[in-house]
Symmetry: C2
């Protein structure tokens, strides 16, 4: 994960690799299910063979402890794919 | 749809609005299913209440007639959401 500053907004971002589009979209859905469950939503960029995930906290326009927790939980989901 | 030039690559892009995250992700999956069926894959950016879709043809690093067809078919999917 790296901290990227986009338009004055700090976000925690990582790109994950997958073997094809369907697997990438499956990962997107699992991260989406986690997001919905926790009521905290990232930006998820799905492409053929890769998914980019960005966490940040809208209310503070930046990073909160919870974003790091969500990033760690995203890692846990990814581990089930490799 | 607008034609955006990103890193010397022309892409056909549009951002769609939705009422929440779950509906946005549902749209992402329907566009993903179309992409997989046609063997032509876009970049899909899913966020709370919005989805950005970008079509382009990797082999020619730009836009092919097929990208415009896929954009039109993406519109058809969106119409089922509004």
């Amino acid at each position: 994960w790296i901290i990227m500053k986009r338009e004055d907004l700090q976000r925690l971002e990582r790109v994950y690799s997958f073997k094809d589009f369907v697997t990438a979209l499956d990962f997107t859905n699992k991260v989406g299910a986690l997001a919905e469950k926790e009521g905290h939503h990232p930006a998820i960029l799905t492409e053929w063979g890769k998914v980019g995930v960005a966490w940040w906290t809208h209310a503070i326009s930046g990073l909160h402890r919870n974003d790091f927790i969500m990033a760690a939980r995203t890692e846990e989901i990814y581990k089930t794919f490799v």
